[in-house]
């Protein structure tokens, strides 16, 4: 490295402190000053790239890292920063090359190895090298939580849930306040479908927010977890309503008990989930349900569906079928209402969050093709509902089904449109 003038050296140390304090804007101002004093200091450009990454400006970070690479090609740090910027920009091949160069320059740096392991995850489906690299980093620095987290990422990407959980838990043993580890454990729980796992995921995300209130990503994920719960509850209710509707024509005692028994499934799901939450989270769930008022409409539709199914089960035969039709309609509205559970998930996805806190691999998302299929199916059911509504005896249920599906179709189309918009680089990597 070249000799840095004293003034610039002081400014760089100030900038370093500011970056450590996550005051990236202020660090940028100091760095601009430092670089104007000494334009050829690779450390200045490295810190600049670091601050830009902190601010979520990966393109600028890549330029700064490139400048640092030109000034000090033998410095491991510059290649590591370039690799991170490439990853955030989705240029995974180049991210791997830069990380390999960093490891070549310093094969004993756990930071370089961790970076390479993380860069390899989205770049290739072969997890062997990523696993080996992450394990080597962990062996070199077993007391650094980041190395265990990198192992967890690799295992999670390979589908080894248990091994991933073990790695994240090890990171938490070292640093109980590690936001990323809390967040990742919760993400793994969220993928499992049970009410218990969903509750664990919700609590995990809440703990991540608690350990770092500025963790916009975890806050987003918390909203997604709650949205998933509401969506699953509404989905189970819809299935129960559809099956209950099938019993509508029969007059036997069993056909009266069946709708009530079917309600137990969503009922148990909701009860198990809610009981496992802490008091604070129950309060948060309640606030989520009642605010904004438009979401309250979706939840009210859900409650009405339950009430109407119960009333339908005990109602005289003549009106039973109509009541179960209406219940089915309410269930459709609650599931597909644009202001309901699905909207909460969508809001989480586009909500204002802090910049990326860690380069977490992307989670699974529904493809555009599937979304078009869903939209087409809903449009079809909407038309069928309209046909059913033309018969006076089934009109109420038909109208509600039709309206619910129209809303769902509209929502799906809106999601497709929003997927088509360009997104800020890097943000998706850290989100579910």
């Amino acid at each position: 490295m070249t000799d840095v003038p004293l003034d610039a050296r002081s400014e760089l140390r100030r900038a370093e402190a500011l970056i450590e304090l996550r005051r990236f804007d202020e660090a940028m101002a100091v760095l601009t000053r430092a670089i104007s004093i000494d334009h050829d200091a690779p450390r200045g450009w490295c810190l600049m790239a670091q601050a830009q990454l902190g601010l979520g400006d990966s393109e600028a970070a890549l330029q700064s890292a490139g400048r640092a690479v030109a000034l000090a090609p033998d410095l491991e740090w510059v290649h590591r920063l370039a690799s991170l910027a490439f990853s955030r920009l989705g240029r995974h091949g180049e991210a791997v090359s830069a990380a390999r160069e960093a490891v070549r320059l310093d094969p004993w740096s756990w930071r370089g190895l961790t970076r390479l392991a993380q860069a390899l995850i989205p770049a290739t489906s072969d997890r062997g090298e990523a696993r080996m690299t992450a394990e080597r980093a962990r062996d070199l620095a077993p007391l650094v939580p980041d190395t265990h987290i990198a192992c967890g990422f690799v295992e999670a990407a390979a589908g080894n849930r248990k091994a991933a959980l073990d790695s994240y838990r090890k990171a938490l043993e070292i640093d109980p306040d590690n936001t990323v580890a809390h967040n990742e454990i919760a993400r793994l729980h969220l993928r499992s479908g049970t009410a218990g796992s969903l509750a664990k995921a919700t609590m995990g995300f809440a703990t991540a927010v608690q350990t770092d209130p500025r963790a916009g990503v975890s806050r987003h994920n918390l909203d997604v977890a709650v949205g998933t719960f509401l969506a699953r509850a509404a989905g189970l209710l819809l299935v129960a309503a559809i099956i209950a509707r099938g019993f509508g024509n029969s007059g036997t005692v069993a056909s009266r008990i069946a709708p009530l028994a079917l309600l137990l499934v969503p009922g148990l799901f909701v009860t198990r989930f809610v009981l496992r939450l802490t008091r604070e989270l129950r309060r948060y769930l309640w606030r989520t349900v009642i605010h904004p008022k438009t979401r309250l409409i979706a939840v009210t539709a859900e409650a009405l569906a339950v009430v109407v199914i119960i009333v339908g089960a005990v109602a005289p035969e003549g009106i039973r079928l109509h009541l179960l039709d209406v219940a089915l309609g309410f269930a459709v509205v609650s599931l597909f209402s644009p202001s309901g559970a699905q909207d909460l998930r969508r809001k989480g996805r586009s909500g204002s969050g802090a910049g990326p806190q860690h380069d977490i691999p992307a989670g699974p998302t529904i493809g555009k093709g599937v979304l078009w299929l869903i939209a087409a199916s809903l449009a079809g059911v909407c038309v069928l509902g309209a046909v059913v509504a033309s018969n006076p005896s089934t009109a109420p249920g038909g109208i509600i089904v039709s309206l619910g599906c129209a809303a769902g179709c509209g929502y799906t189309l809106r999601t497709i449109r929003s997927r088509s918009r360009p997104r800020s680089a890097g943000s998706d990597q850290t989100r579910l």
């Binding site: 004293l6 002081s10 140390r13 100030r14 370093e16 402190a17 500011l18 450590e20 304090l21 005051r23 202020e26 640093d175 306040d177 809440a206 703990t207 927010v209 608690q210 209130p213 500025r214 963790a215 916009g216 806050r219 604070e280 948060y284 606030r287 204002s352």
Partner: protein, 307 residues
């Protein structure tokens, strides 16, 4: 005794920290009645009645941490508290804190408290204390960790030397502060300083417009329209309005007064800056308030229907 330093060494000497008279009283702070009342109850009353405090077995030790969104007058209030106590004022800003990181951090923190002890009675005001007392688990830098440890030692005043030294801290992010700093005897009292209330907003507008040419300005209406704006936002509104009038005057060649229209247009252009802070504050109040530390904040957020 300060050890000698090498010629190329960065550090602070005896005169590194400026102690000055506070020059303000709480009565100079416009509005903010609630904050003043809580300040009186939590900090000033015990200091004014030391005998009573001792009678009830309470300690006079411990500092006060002012927290709240940026630009809402925490520094101004701290200076006014020093004035109320008839003490000198030693303010340490972020720039000086960063200098501590650059130089020999532990020695610099020690020197700061030594200066305060020599100037007692003195209020040491650590602005942006999150920069100095960051959670140690967040810090990778050894110098930064050393600074936190030294600060803890100085607050404890190992040899009971802190007589007449009152420590006030201010931060926008109290959740980033090492919990050890909030233990009894350190910053064990917290006070939320919120965006100015209507009366305070009038005072802020009056202050920023008093030396400018204004005509027909309705301060009451302006204050009503700027609920949720920080003091810094209000200052910026005045700047913006003045700039508008200046440009207009330059264009027409005739100087004109700053009018209500300029100010109202500026209000429309300037958005409240505390939004990002509120987002984090919401997370804290909802998920990190098990011990009730942020009850005041939660009440405020509920009142504004933000949670």
């Amino acid at each position: 005794m300060i050890p000698p330093a090498f010629v190329d060494e960065e550090g602070v000497g005896t005169g590194a920290f400026d102690v000055e008279p506070a020059g303000l009283r709480l009565s100079d702070v416009g509005g903010m009645v609630e904050v003043k009342e809580r300040l009186e109850a939590a900090f000033l009353a015990p200091l004014r009645n030391p005998d009573l405090v001792r009678l009830y077995g309470k300690s006079l030790r411990g500092g006060l941490l002012l927290y709240g969104p940026p630009g809402c007058g925490k520094t101004f209030i701290a200076r006014a508290v020093a004035g109320e106590m008839g003490a000198r004022f030693l303010a340490v800003s972020l720039a000086e804190i960063l200098d501590m990181y650059v130089g020999q951090s532990e020695r610099n923190v020690h020197e700061l408290f030594e200066t305060a002890r020599r100037s007692a009675p003195c209020v040491v005001f650590l602005d942006e204390i999150d920069a100095l007392g960051q959670k140690r688990s967040h810090l990778r830098n050894n110098a930064a960790r050393g600074t936190v440890n030294q600060l803890l030692a100085e607050l404890d005043g190992v040899q009971n030397l802190n007589e007449g030294v009152y420590v006030l801290g201010a931060t926008n992010h109290p959740w980033d502060i090492d919990v050890a700093l909030r233990r009894p005897g350190r910053f064990d009292r917290m006070l939320l300083v919120l965006p100015p209330d209507e009366e305070a907003r009038q005072a802020v507008f009056r202050y920023h417009l008093q030396s400018r040419p204004v005509a027909n300005v309705d301060l009451v209406r302006l204050a009503r329209r700027t609920d949720g704006y920080s003091g810094a936002d209000l200052a910026y509104i005045c700047e913006n309005a003045a700039e508008r009038a200046l440009l207009d005057s330059a264009r027409s060649g005739t100087a004109r007064m700053i009018g209500m229209e300029d100010l109202e247009q500026a209000v429309q252009d300037v958005k409240p800056s505390i939004g990002p802070w509120l987002e984090t504050a919401k997370n804290v109040a909802q998920f990190a308030n098990e011990d009730g530390t942020y009850d005041e904040l939660l009440t405020y957020l509920r009142k504004r229907r933000l949670v």
